[in-house]
Structure formats: structure tokens, C-alpha cells
Symmetry: C2
Subunit: 279 residues, 2 copies
């Protein structure tokens, strides 16, 4: 059954398992024709837990009659050695690269767990939480007068993905991301509020295809005026007119994920990312 199209995958770590999971998912996304089932096994930080997981992996191999895939980040040798012997395809994500870096930098790695996603640097961690609080406070144009303190202000019509992107930027990068929905009030005046114009260099304008916007809004308020394709088309057109008035070049977000959009924003505005403020 070695060629079965169904596979069990374990993400294993002495700590959160975020790294093993992120890399494992990325690698396996290169095999879209195979159906993977994922299991997280974080905080495997003792010989006893490693032995239990060893048994679990072997049991899966026996029951399913094919070897599971195991992605592990195990800076400490002791636990790594136990899992390596399980009946699985074992990928130690750190191993080969960690040693190479050590050689390249002429220094030994610490080989301690919890260094990357733990609460190591309280000050920069708190800064990330501060950014998140700022973003929550400045979501959906709730507060305008302190908008100048933001790192970026995402603008666009209602329901075009501004809020999730802002939250992602804050949580992941510690970026103070505000957002402003362009609504009837702005369309009627045919201008953007002064506080936005005062922070023009921080504006990130977005556009979206009417069909997709209609689809998103329908889920929110089915069969409403707000969600009708006609309203969506009209708002998008008026927003475009406003962008042109101020020379703003919008980015089409229709087929972009939050992560892709966030990466674009960081790049375009050349935003600073603290080394400790990464998820």
C-alpha cells in the first residue's frame, strides 16, 4: 500500500510546532494530488512523551499499512533520537540546515527549544500586543483622530478584506494597521476625509471584483440592497473614481489571500518588521 493516496502526517515539536507545521504544509502543498491528514503534537519535551508518540506513530503505520510522515523540529538530540526510530518517514526540519549555519557562522547553535515562539523578549512581545490593540481600536474607522499613529491605513469598500489583513499585520509583524471603509458619505462628498489625506503616504488602496464582493456580502446580508451585484458594482466604480482623484493606485485583492496581501503591503510601504515580532 506504499502508493496509497491517503497519508497521515504528524507535526512534532518540543515547543509550539509552528515551524514544523509551516514548513511541512508548504512542502506537502507541492503534492496536491495526495490527501493528507494532519495531526499536531506540540510540547513533546520529555523522553516519556517521546516514547508515547513513538508508540502512536507505529500504531498508525500498523493500522493504515503505510508509514506516516513526521515533520519535526527537535533541536535537542535526546528526543530526536527516539522518534527517528519510529516506523515513519522522518524529516527533521532543522537538522541539516542548523549544522550548516553553525559552520558558516563559526559558532555552535544553542540547541534549546522554545527560543523562536516563546515569550523570550517581553518588550518586543508587548509591542506586538500593543499593535494589535491599536488595530482593533482603529478597525473600520472607529477612531479617526489617532490615525496618524498608524503604520499603514488600508482603504477600500466594505467587506473587501481590510479587517482580516489589518489583524494579520498586527499579530504577525507588530504593525499598527488601521483600516477605513469608503462608504456613501465619502461617495456623496466625492472626497476622502482630511485625516486620510494628511496621512497619504500611509494609505494602501484596495479594489475588488464586483462578483466576488457580491458573493462575500451575500453571506453577510443575503438578498439585501447592500449585497446586490448592482450596489457592489456602483461602489467599486465610485471608489475607483476617488482613487483617481487622489492619484492612488489600488491593488486588486480579489484572488489574494490575507497572507499574500499582507506581504504586498509590507513590501510596497517598506514597513519595518521587528525581529522578535513574528508569529
Amino acid at each position: 500500500m506504499a502508493d496509497s493516496k491517503q497519508r497521515t502526517v504528524f507535526f512534532v515539536s518540543e515547543s509550539t510546532g509552528i515551524t514544523a507545521e509551516t514548513l511541512g504544509h508548504s512542502l506537502l502543498s507541492q503534492f496536491p494530488h495526495i490527501d493528507f491528514t494532519y495531526h499536531q503534537r506540540p510540547f513533546v519535551d520529555s523522553v516519556e512523551k517521546a516514547n508515547n508518540l513513538f508508540d502512536e506513530i507505529n500504531q498508525v503505520a500498523k493500522d493504515k499499512r503505510y508509514k506516516p510522515l513526521v515533520f519535526a523540529t527537535m533541536p535537542e538530540y535526546k528526543i530526536n533520537r527516539i522518534l527517528q526510530k519510529a516506523n515513519c518517514y522522518y524529516y527533521e526540519v532543522f537538522e541539516s540546515i542548523l549544522d550548516r549555519i553553525g559552520k558558516d557562522l563559526h559558532t555552535d547553535p544553542k540547541r534549546e527549544s522554545g527560543l523562536s515562539h516563546g515569550l523570550i523578549n517581553e518588550k518586543s512581545y508587548d509591542a506586538r500586543i500593543d499593535a494589535l490593540n491599536f488595530t482593533l481600536k482603529h478597525d473600520d474607522a472607529m477612531v479617526l483622530k489617532t490615525l496618524g499613529e498608524s503604520d499603514v491605513i488600508i482603504i477600500g469598500v466594505s467587506r473587501s478584506g481590510k479587517t482580516p489583513t489589518s489583524l494579520y499585520l498586527a499579530l504577525k509583524f507588530g504593525i499598527k494597521a488601521a483600516n477605513y471603509p469608503i462608504t456613501d458619505d465619502d461617495f456623496d462628498k466625492e472626497e476622502l476625509p482630511q485625516v486620510l489625506l494628511d496621512n497619504r503616504h500611509k494609505l494602501f488602496a484596495t479594489s475588488i471584483k464586483a462578483k466576488r464582493l457580491h458573493q462575500i456580502r451575500e453571506k453577510r446580508r443575503p438578498n439585501s440592497q447592500y449585497s446586490s451585484l448592482e450596489t457592489c458594482k456602483s461602489e467599486i466604480k465610485k471608489a475607483q473614481k476617488l482613487y483617481e482623484k487622489y492619484g492612488l493606485k489600488p491593488m486588486d485583492v480579489t484572488s489574494q489571500s490575507i497572507e499574500e496581501l499582507a506581504a504586498q503591503i509590507v513590501r510596497k510601504l517598506n514597513l519595518k518588521i521587528s525581529k522578535d515580532t513574528l508569529i
Copy 2:
């Protein structure tokens, strides 16, 4: 200057660069005595962009008189080959493991970019956004009557990290995470609201050290009754009493990061994580 304690690092990708960045950060966290400066270079998806980056890397190597470190996820050979020749320590994060997986699974990887963090599966992507909207709506006990639809309800005193953790769970895993701050009203009644008790199996109780809570609240409302060490101590004690009444075992969040707490919650409640709902 090969042993300089200051190093420039590039995270390079044809797509968002999230994987290169996550793994690169984790690996470099094992060298805490070295001071790294990070640069993100996402969407390097053409020969022209690769050539520009090639020049940039070489310029850094020349100016700083030591080689920068480059972490790259480059499933396509063409661009990878250009960057490999730059004057740097080049770590292709996918390379060795991707080939091994292909061999182990008896199938070739697709070698396409944007498969892991793009908007590939619209349905599961939308589910993640739905989870985020649910979490925003059920933050801070704003809505109680639909609490039963949540996957987890985090409870604890005000400002103990419930909101960031809930948002992280929603954004990263597509988990509907509500949270409920235990306040004076509950303390006075000496009981938790019925809607929480009806969803007891979804409750995740948190505790925190008074000194840390005091420190967090001081930033929010300096020199207030709310932030005083005395109030913090008293609230924590009363919350503990409520937990005991209902047989809830709280987790101490004092020295845990959002990521660590989220991983603990997923593990303890054995929450299901969709394969497409990962940041």
C-alpha cells in the same frame, strides 16, 4: 570579518515568503548571541527580479565585508539557480526535504509557487474568514446567545491575553474562538453565567500572576483602581474560587506567548484543524 556578530539576513520567495521567514527565524533563534538584521524579499518570481536581488545581495556582501545569509523557498529551478550564485550563505529550505518526500511517496512534487499561502481553496479560505468574523463578534462577551456555536471559549480576568489568543486561533487555524472576561458581576454573584455552564466542555480557563497583570493594566489605565496590584490580586483570587467551584483547571498564561497558549488550547481541547486553514 567573517566572525562579525552582526549579520544581514534575506528571506526570499517566489510567493509570500512566510515559510522561508518562519523557518529562518526559528533556525537563527538558536544563535541568540548574534545580532541579525532581517529583510523580506517576497514575490521574486521572474528572472529580472532574481537578477536585481542577486545584485542587492552582492552589494551587501561588499559593503558589510561579510556574506549575508539567504533563506529561500524556491520550488522552481530557474530562479533558484541565479540566487545560488550570489555572494552569500544560501539555504534553500525546500530542497533536500522536497526531493526526499518525492522519493518516499513515489511521486514528483509540482514545483509551483504560491501553493501554500495563496487563495487556492476558496471554500476553506472563506471558512477561516468566517471564523475570524465569529471571533470578532464574540470578543469580550459582546454576544452571548450564540456562544454555543464556538469551538472554544477562553475565560479569565480582564487583560489576561484572551483577545489576541482568540484572534490568533481564528486567523491561523480557522477556529471559532470566543472569549469571556470574568468581571465584578460574576464575582458578586459568585457564579458563571448559564451560557458558559451550558458549554462547559468548550471552556478554557486561564490564570495569570498578579504582578504581570498589574503591569499590563498599568499601560492601559495608569494609576487607576482597575490597574492597582491590589485589584489584580483580588480579581485573580476570586476567579480562582470560581474555577474551583466548577472544577475548572486553569492554565497559567503569565510566561506564555500567544502562539504557545494557542498550541496548548488546540491540544487540550483536541480541536480539529483544517488542512487549508493555516497561515
